[in-house]
Structures are given as structure tokens and as C-alpha cells.
Symmetry: C3
Subunit: 168 residues, 3 copies
């Protein structure tokens, strides 16, 4: 192999490594936008984190399909009441496994609310979250998110098991 | 274009991508140092995360300007009382938008305190945080941070809206 | 220096920078797996995050040495009772300092539990965490983790001070 071919091969390997890192960081940043979007009441910004037909299940009550459903949730009475009374939707950095143009992840979401009477916040929900992301021409987007309370329900905590273990 | 010029162009593109990733990771790591600094009472370490004349507003009470103000806050009676009674200042990974040598971000901060009588912690504050960082010869530093409780105040939750939306 | 030697030198510098970023991201992802592993009751998955003889001190009660101890803790009565009643072990992204094949870090862990009677969660613990990681042929692993409640104990909050300050 010529000197330049060798160097080109080195650069190719490096480029693949950079792409893998960029995937991780972009997905972290995608997830980091959810809380700020919904807690500022930005329904379209929240919806835009999903693919056009992406899904979001907030077990057991909310089953959203497509961006319009997500924007409608943010604009809806329940969510508006939450944020006007004071609320933070706090997501943790997920464990991310990228496989080509798909990726899956596991993480937590906290829902913490202001209690004006008590002068303190209270933790309404700590949830298991599973994510499926897809690479689109506009970057990574959420294809599927499931959020289920860690209230002792076996199926909810099983969501946090590694994909290889549960066969997902 | 010669073979080597072509490869050099490829490397230049890759280098720009790596710089963008490094910006993201460095800013994440800058933010990750705030909590440990203040909760260990390390006033100078906390102050060093800011630029020399950086600002930190903890709405509505605290208006800090420059590193000395920040170090003074950490060494002050109020903060010392917090940490000797048991307290964690927990910041989330921000959504980061880099624009050259400037960057802005949005995230959350939790202030959780030990209640020795009850034998449990309580959530004193969940706050919206907006950040402005600048690239300095020593690396990224905080130029401006605003922290405001998500207690239902409209202006506070509006801080979490994306910059393009609110025109910031 | 010939053109190709110059370009090779540029690529070498870039490769070192990518390696440094990869270390940061891999360690973030290592830490992101702890909570999901223990909250899904996956003892072996949790243990595999450590080196074979890695240690985990949950001050003051639990002193684990080696993977078997960690897996045994996850399978043990205490932890099983936590997760079947509803619990989230939430870790923050650490501040990470890499030094060759070793790295150290500082961060927080939250232990938040479901109270079925009250219909809300409560914060059982906010802890300082110090980490030591090592690079192994299989990637970064935890060599040492110490977890100690931020309940006002001076030694616990000192864990969060920067290594250079405390001489660690």
C-alpha cells in the first residue's frame, strides 16, 4: 500500500469513530431538549423531536401517535395546568446503543411539582424510559418513547434491563 | 485536485467535526463541575468556572458579578449553612447551541436538602437555567447563568424555550 | 517535512483528540448503565460495569469487593425489596478527569422511592460519589466507587472537591 493509501485508511477509521461519537452526543442533545420544550409549553418544539409518525406512550394513560398528538398533549389542559402551577420534567442521559441508522436507549424521567402551600417541590413520578431513535436527513429523531412509573410494577422496571438480556 | 489535497480536505472536514464534538463535551464537563464545587464548599473552584467578569443570577435574591461574588456566595453564611446541614446542587446536562466562540444552553438545577428530623431529603428548588458560555484561551467558561425557580412564574418557564423561538 | 508527513502529523493530533473525546463519552455511558441495571434487578449486568476485583462502598453499611459482591447486593433482600416497592437509582453525569489508562470522577446519586400510601415518591438519599475507572481490553470499567450521603457529614461533602485540591 502506498503511503497515501495507508494514511487514507487511517483517516477512514478515524472518521468512523467520529461518526460514532457524534451519534452519541447528538442523541444526548436530542433528549436534553425534551424537558425544556414541554416545561416552556413549546408544543411544536417538543413534537419536532419525534419523527413525523413517532410514538410516545406515557403508561398507562397517554398514547400519542405522531407529532400532532405530542403537540396537543403539550397544549392540553392537563399539561398546561402542570406548568402553570410549577413543574419540571427532568430526563437523565440515556444509555445509548447505536446500530446503523437506529438506536435504542434506557433512562429515567422525573416529574417534580411545586407545592405553593408547602413552599417546596414534591416528586410526582420517577419513570423508566425506553427510547428508539432513527437517523433522518435532519438528524436523529425519536421514533418511540415509553415512559412508565417505577412504582413497583414488574413490567416497568423490566424496561430498564439491557436489550440483549430481554431480547428487545 | 491532487490525491493529497483531497485527503487534506477530508481531514479538514473531520477536524471541524471533532472541534464541534469537543465543544459539546467540554461544556457538559464544565457544567458537571458546578455542583461538586459548591457542595464541597470550594468557592474558588466554583468561581473559576466563570469568566473573570461572568455573571450569575439566582432569581430573585442573588445577583453575582465576577468571580469574587461567586466565591463570596459559596463562602457566605447562607450557602455554608446549606451544605453543613446536607445539600445537593444537581444540574442536568444542558441543551447546548454553539455559535463560534459563544454558546448558549438551557437546563435544570435541583436543590435537594437533608431533613435530619424526618430522615429524608426534600426538594427545595427545581429551577430553569439559561447559560451563556464563551471560549477563552483556557477553555470554555461561563459568561452568564440565570437560575429561576419553576414555581409557576411565566417568565421562569419561558427561559426554557428554544432561543430561536424567543428571539434570544 | 514532506506534504504527506505534515498531513500525517495533523491526523495523529486529531486521533489523540478523538481518543480523549471517546474516553469521556464511554465513561459517561458506563455510568449511565448503573441505574438501569440495578433498578431492573440485573445483578450480572451491574457487576459487569466493574473490573473483576472492583470495589463499591456505600458508606457506611455496604462494602463490596469484586463482581460477586455487587451481583449479590442486587439479588439480596434489601435491594429486591427496594425495587419491588418502586425505586429509582439516578446518577448524574460525572466530572471526568482522564490520565492515561486511569480516570477519576465526581458526581451525585439519587435514591428516590415510591410511597404507595402517599401516592408520591420521596427522596431517600442524595449522595456524593467518587469514581475511579480503568481502561481494560473490554473498555472502561469501574475500579472503585464510593457513595456517601450528603447529610451534612464533612467527609462526605469533601469527596466532591476537585482531586487537585484534596490531593487525591
Amino acid at each position: 500500500m502506498s503511503e497515501i493509501d495507508e494514511l487514507r485508511a487511517t483517516v477512514d477509521v478515524l472518521a468512523a469513530r467520529v461518526r460514532a461519537l457524534a451519534d452519541q452526543v447528538e442523541i444526548m442533545q436530542l433528549v436534553a431538549q425534551y424537558g425544556p420544550a414541554v416545561d416552556s409549553g413549546s408544543g411544536e418544539a417538543a413534537a419536532a423531536l419525534w419523527t413525523e409518525d413517532g410514538s410516545f406512550d406515557a403508561v398507562p394513560h397517554l398514547r400519542m401517535r405522531g407529532r400532532d398528538d405530542i403537540a396537543a398533549m403539550v397544549g392540553g389542559e392537563g399539561h398546561q395546568s402542570l406548568i402553570t402551577n410549577g413543574c419540571g420534567h427532568i430526563l437523565t442521559v440515556p444509555h445509548i446503543v447505536v446500530d446503523g441508522d437506529q438506536a435504542t436507549g434506557r433512562a429515567y424521567a422525573l416529574n417534580i411539582r411545586w407545592d405553593a402551600g408547602a413552599g417546596r417541590f414534591w416528586v410526582a413520578r420517577v419513570s423508566a424510559n425506553t427510547w428508539r431513535w432513527v437517523r433522518t436527513p435532519e438528524g436523529w429523531r425519536i421514533a418511540e418513547r415509553v415512559n412508565a412509573s417505577l412504582d413497583g410494577t414488574a413490567e416497568h422496571r423490566d424496561m430498564l434491563a439491557a436489550p440483549t438480556r430481554s431480547g428487545r
